[in-house]
């Protein structure tokens, strides 16, 4: 048996990430006493370095390595940079929150970095093995992260729920993958998609069954209904800093998984997964929007809104054309940036000893801190899809692809749900601008760097609305 050393160049960002994560872990263990902020700085450095390496490796060709189990391509690079950038902002927002609450400092960063590493592997995975590996590397640290605030019963419950649900999801996905493996006798996504063209009709059923489980697993990880139950509990139960992380980067990783497994692997079964995704999208939009209306906790409301947004994103996927895929990736990127801002706001406004969690806490934010209120207004408008902010173009893209796929009824329904969605986003705006504040004090819990970060985040949404071409073209080139 001869062993060929695979080309490791495409995986250099991941290798760098792994090395840096270990360094952060060690620095936290031995040097934190003397340099308290060293792990934080090193984590940021790791992310920046990984971004630089990913961008440097960005080519216009697709490259496959590690015995056909690892791919580096357009969409992968875009999503990786988004994941890394998101995590960078998460750390900026979280620093003070984590320090204030005696959450294990280094562990927080290390677990996040490991999770990011898993996401990067998942994004680049091109066989079932590497895909599952990535999925587990990214999921396991999340369970620990949620339970990081060990004395909070709410967090422990959320972690337990997430763990069980996550385990079920992984199981479903594995079950589905093994069925597909059974029918095609290969674990390589490229090979599977090749074999599928000549699969005998008698195995159709098992493939479709496998597909059902794959779709269920993907929907789980995305947090789409009816596999969404963990989302609100986890978002509300976890410390805001962790919620901020869970609500952003993993969505992109799950999206990448959906693209690899559905778009890359099973384009021939597009009709089948289209139907399943229609169900997921409709139920997600309905439950997400209707239930969000009555929420009083902002984190929980945003959780339901994320369910609804995942519904909208799947609309792009299910339309089954290149336009739809690029619209979906644009949607997921824009959603991640919006959700980063919204949860970031919750995190940075929460000061020592109090949380800004309920919607009532935001009463009169405009008079307490006009600039942050304005950023929040931008974010809420964008989530509601008000033109000309980025969220509008995200919705426009998926709706256009739906119409292209002759699913006009779905497009109309989606927009009717969007109206209901607009209701609760506007309620937040109304509370911020028209209600009298409960506390008169100005909000000054934020430090300079977080203020700059959140402003950049909110204004980026606006800029992206005025020039959506910046990212849209990248997404378009990827499919």
């Amino acid at each position: 048996m001869n062993f060929v050393i695979p080309d490791v160049v495409p995986a250099i960002p991941e290798i760098f990430m792994l090395a840096m994560t270990c360094i952060v872990l060690l620095s936290g263990l031995f040097l934190q006493r003397r340099y308290p902020s060293l792990p934080y700085m090193l984590s940021l450095l790791a992310l920046v370095g990984a971004v630089v390496l990913t961008v440097a490796l960005y080519k216009h060709t697709t490259e496959i390595t590690f015995h056909n189990s690892y791919i580096i391509d357009h969409i992968g690079s875009i999503l990786k940079v988004t994941i890394l950038g998101t995590c960078f902002f998460v750390f900026l927002y979280c620093r003070r929150y984590v320090a204030d609450r005696n959450i294990l400092n280094t562990e927080f960063y290390v677990l996040c970095l490991f999770s990011v590493l898993g996401m990067m592997v998942l994004v680049s995975a091109y066989s079932f093995i590497s895909l599952y590996l990535g999925l587990e590397i990214f999921s396991l640290p999340l369970y620990a992260l949620i339970a990081l605030q060990r004395d909070a019963a709410r967090s422990a419950e959320a972690a337990m729920k997430y763990f069980i649900m996550g385990a079920v999801a992984s199981g479903m996905l594995l079950y589905g993958l093994s069925m597909i493996y059974g029918a095609t006798k290969s674990v390589d996504i490229a090979v599977v998609s090749q074999v599928l063209t000549s699969v005998p009709a008698s195995q159709n059923l098992i493939l479709v069954f496998g597909l059902v489980f794959v779709v269920v697993g993907v929907a789980f990880k995305l947090g789409g209904a009816p596999f969404h139950m963990w989302v609100p509990d986890v978002y509300e139960g976890a410390p805001s800093a962790v919620t901020l992380f869970i609500a952003t980067a993993p969505k992109i990783a799950a999206f990448a998984m959906a693209v690899r497994l559905l778009v890359d692997m099973m384009p021939l079964y597009q009709v089948e997964w289209q139907h399943m995704l229609i169900v997921v999208a409709l139920v997600s939009m309905a439950i997400g929007n209707f239930v969000a209306i009555v929420q009083t906790n902002l984190k929980r409301m945003l959780a339901y809104s994320s369910i609804a947004h995942m519904g909208y994103m799947s609309l792009g996927l299910l339309s089954g054309n290149a336009q739809g895929y690029s619209a979906a990736s644009f949607y997921i990127i824009v959603y991640t940036i919006m959700s980063l801002g919204a949860f970031g706001m919750v995190t940075i406004l929460s000061g020592k000893g109090f949380e800004m969690e309920t919607i009532n806490d935001y009463k009169g934010l405009n008079s307490r801190n006009p600039w942050l209120a304005f950023i929040m207004l931008l974010l809420m408008f964008s989530m509601a899809g008000v033109p000309p902010i980025a969220g509008f173009f995200a919705k426009l893209g998926v709706i256009e692809s739906l119409v292209e796929a002759h699913l006009v009824w779905l497009a109309v329904l989606a927009l009717v749900f969007a109206i209901i969605g607009a209701y609760y986003y506007l309620r937040v705006v109304k509370v911020m601008y028209f209600d009298a504040p409960e506390h008169q004090s100005r909000i000054d819990t934020t430090s300079m760097d977080t203020r700059i970060a959140i402003s950049a985040n909110g204004l980026f949404i606006l800029v992206l609305g005025i020039f959506p071409g910046i990212i849209f073209n990248l997404c378009k080139a990827a499919f």
Binding site: N204, I206, V212, F227, H275, M276, V294, V412, L426, N473
Partner: protein, 760 residues
């Protein structure tokens, strides 16, 4: 200058107005709109219309469609805009901060409206459309303290955004039909039959946007609610802008859709219903602004009705009515605003006699309300005449429709007469005397003068509106028609007298009953349906939120089962394979044991019984394996069963078993879900039989395990020989984990021991 830049300047100007107020900003504001007004009536031509790319990848750009139609709307927006700004300034002189906000918002709104009527790109148009919705929301809820205005503003925003989003789908459908966002290109496109059919869908979707924005039945309640806004806002929104956006869009798309049967039917039906209901409601209002609001709805209905037609006379009547209505309605609203400011009331009864006190009031009231009623000396009469003529000129004159529209015109005339009647009635009590002549009357006076001028030069109106008619109906050749048809003349006269008769009838009716006709509480229905949505949300929340993990799993498993079942039903027929049947009797015995165990598991509510059934089930399974000759699997199964029972019992020592009880209905649901899932999985198992397992590897191990590895137990050989490296690595992982765990445990135990010592 590029017109995009000019629009941008408009938005910047709005920001400046919000920031500070000085004579310079006022001069800038008036210059801004004056340039536009002069441009739209072709006095100057300072603008270029080079499109500016916005999103090249989506073909979205700021491009402009400048024809008679958009010029006419520009003229209305800028002309009425200047007068409204003038009015605003005088109206809120008392409170400069408020004025700043009002002026800034009005400017924002006006520029959005301008963008809307100029844009050629559908997406750009949509963006401006949404901007008008948002800015009008801010305008209507200008008095933030008032609950009514908050509610009205919310209704208006909700309704118009709802419609606009549906309309957006229509735009996208148009784009997918014609592969362009540009209205001008869509218009010049020749259509295939297939596209013709898809056009119906587009029309339905776009109509949704139009009827919500232009306050048609059943959505007009937002407009009547919007009278909560300050007078300048009402004067602007109700006359030249906002509500006209839908009308503009209809006119814009007239060339594309007018050949469809649906176009005529839908517009006629919607227009007529709106006209009748609004005119009836208008007569029964006691609030002056409400009378005017309903009459606006009536006018919009009439415009929609007219646009349904497609001959030159109809379109001409539409254009003239549009202009004329904008002028007199703005005047009337300003008059109402001045009255409200002076007497702090809008009730007609309390305003009795104001026309006698002040000749200027009297003049403006007679001119504007006379125009609204269509009194003979004014141009309103001529307009009415033209409308009737247009209605008569259609190929298929429906006499029912004709009668209905004449009747509603009579009712509107009666409503205006009623207002005039109150203005000149002898007041019951002396009202507080207004101190001095209000400057606020300047603006309505200008409008009244304008009405008189138009009346004088009515023969030349054709020059003004002919480019518009040309834009809506490119093929029309007819020039401005002298409305001297005897039939329509008679009908218009009839309307005036009918109006007086209606008013008398109304007074008579009021003597006997207080019933208000024509008032449908649509806003109540709307709010009720909103409450319904909220209720639905609450119910759904109760169903899906805050549940135990068992419930979550139940939902998950059942949805997976349903998904699987759906795939089986949709096309993939159930494949039934004959199962080999060698040991029928023993199979039967074991199967019945298994079924019994599952049934008792399902039916029994006692936890211990359940445990016993569960372990019996495991036993049955291992028996099953034994009969199949898989003794090792059976042993493994048995061990697992025993182990799990032991662990469960260990855990259960700490649990109060009596408390662990589930209710019957839950059990039934669980049973159904289990049955469903079991069925689907059975089907799956049967399907797996069709897979041909590749026996290459299997045979390799069987052939070589003795030969190469000298072992008889193939499983062992695979573990320690063929895949020894894997096993080795696995062992390393386990050892490493064990070391880590033991270290952690040691630390935990020592710290706990220490704390224990501390406590004692």
């Amino acid at each position: 200058m590029n017109i995009s830049c000019y629009l941008l300047i408009g938005f910047v100007l709005s920001a400046i107005l919000a920031w500070r107020r000085s004579p310079i900003t006022s001069v800038l504001l008036y210059t801004y709109w004056a340039i536009l007004l002069l441009w739209s009536i072709k006095v100057i031509a300072p603008f270029t219309t080079v499109p500016i790319m916005w999103v090249p990848s989506l073909d979205i750009q700021f491009s402009y469609h400048l024809d008679g139609l958009s010029k006419l709307f520009t003229a209305l927006i800028s002309g009425i805009g200047i007068i409204v700004f003038l009015f605003t300034k005088i109206y809120s002189q008392a409170d400069p901060a408020k004025y700043k906000r009002l002026a800034a918002l009005l400017q924002l709104f006006a520029v959005s409206m301008l963008g809307l009527v100029l844009a050629d790109n559908l997406i750009a148009l949509f963006v401006f459309w949404e901007l008008t919705s948002i800015s009008s929301y801010l305008l209507i809820q200008f008095n933030t303290a008032s609950h009514a205005s908050n509610q009205a503003a919310f209704n208006s925003l909700f309704i118009s955004v709802l419609g606009s989003l549906v309309m957006l789908v229509g735009f996208i459908e148009l784009h997918s039909l014609f592969a362009t966002w540009e209205i001008s290109q869509i218009m010049s496109h020749s259509m295939t039959i297939g596209q013709q059919q898809n056009l119906h869908l587009c029309l339905w979707l776009i109509l949704a946007g139009v009827i919500t924005k232009s306050a048609q039945f059943p959505f007009y309640f937002w407009l009547t609610g919007a009278m909560q806004a300050p007078a300048p806002v009402s004067a602007y929104l109700h006359s030249a802008t906002m509500v006209n956006a839908g009308i503009y869009l209809l006119a814009r798309f007239h060339p594309l859709f007018h050949s469809l049967e649906l176009w005529y039917c839908a517009l006629t039906a919607i227009g007529t219903i709106t006209m009748v209901l609004a005119s009836l409601a208008s007569l029964f209002q006691d609030d002056l602004k409400a009378v005017l609001a309903y009459s606006t709805v009536f006018a919009l209905g009439a415009m929609v009705y007219l646009l349904g037609g497609s001959n030159a006379v109809t379109i001409e009547a539409f254009s003239i009515f549009l202009v004329f209505h904008a002028i007199y309605k703005a005047g009337a609203f300003m008059l109402a605003g001045v009255l409200e400011k002076r007497y702090h009331t809008r009730e007609l009864q309390q305003l009795a006699g104001i026309g006698r006190r002040n000749w200027l009031f009297a003049l403006i009231a007679i001119v504007t309300f006379g125009a609204m009623a269509g009194l003979p000396p004014f141009f309103g009469f001529t307009v009415k005449e033209m409308i009737f003529k247009a209605k008569l000129s259609t190929d298929t004159v429906s006499y029912v429709l004709m009668t209905v529209s004449i009747l509603s015109s009579m009712l509107i005339a009666a409503a205006s007469f009623r207002c005039l009647f109150y203005f000149f009635k002898r007041p019951a009590a002396e009202i507080k005397s207004p101190s001095k002549l209000s400057l606020g009357l300047v603006s309505p006076l200008i409008l009244a003068t304008l009405i008189i001028i138009i009346t004088l030069i009515s023969q030349d109106m054709g020059i003004i509106i002919s480019p518009t008619v040309k834009a809506i109906l490119p093929t029309s050749t007819a020039s401005y028609l002298d409305p001297n048809s005897s039939a329509s003349y008679l009908l218009s006269l009839m309307t005036v007298f009918g109006g007086i008769v209606c008013l008398l009838l109304y007074i008579l009716l009021r003597k006997f009953s207080k019933v208000k006709f024509g008032h449908i509480p649509l806003d109540k229905y709307f709010e009720a349906s909103l409450t319904l949505v909220l209720q639905l949300g609450r119910q759904l929340t109760r169903l899906t939120q805050g549940q135990t993990i068992t419930n979550h799993l139940r939902i998950i498993v059942s949805s997976i089962a349903v998904l699987l079942l759906a795939t089986i039903i949709s096309g993939h027929l159930i494949q039934v394979h004959a199962v080999a049947n060698h040991q029928a009797t023993s199979n039967l015995l074991i199967c019945s044991l298994l079924i019994m165990c599952s049934l008792s598991l399902l039916l029994s509510c006692r936890f211990l019984y359940n445990l016993i059934s569960l372990s019996l089930l495991g036993l049955g399974l291992s028996l099953f394996f034994v009969t199949k000759g898989a003794v090792d699997v059976a042993i493994a199964q048995l061990l697992v069963e025993v182990l799990s029972v032991i662990i469960l019992l260990l855990v259960l020592r700490r649990v109060d078993l009596k408390a662990v009880k589930t209710n019957k209905s839950n059990r039934i649901i669980n049973g159904v879900i289990a049955l469903l899932f079991g069925m689907v999985v059975t089907e799956l198992m049967l399907a797996t039989r069709s897979i041909n397992v590749d026996a290459k590897l299997q045979n390799y191990y069987i052939d070589n395990s003795l030969l190469l590895a000298h072992g008889r137990n193939i499983v062992n050989v695979i573990l320690v020989d063929f895949r020894s490296l894997d096993t080795f690595a696995e062992a390393i992982v386990i050892v490493a984990t064990a070391i880590g765990v033991s270290l952690l445990l040691k630390q935990v135990l020592t710290t706990r021991g220490q704390s224990h010592v501390d406590n004692t």
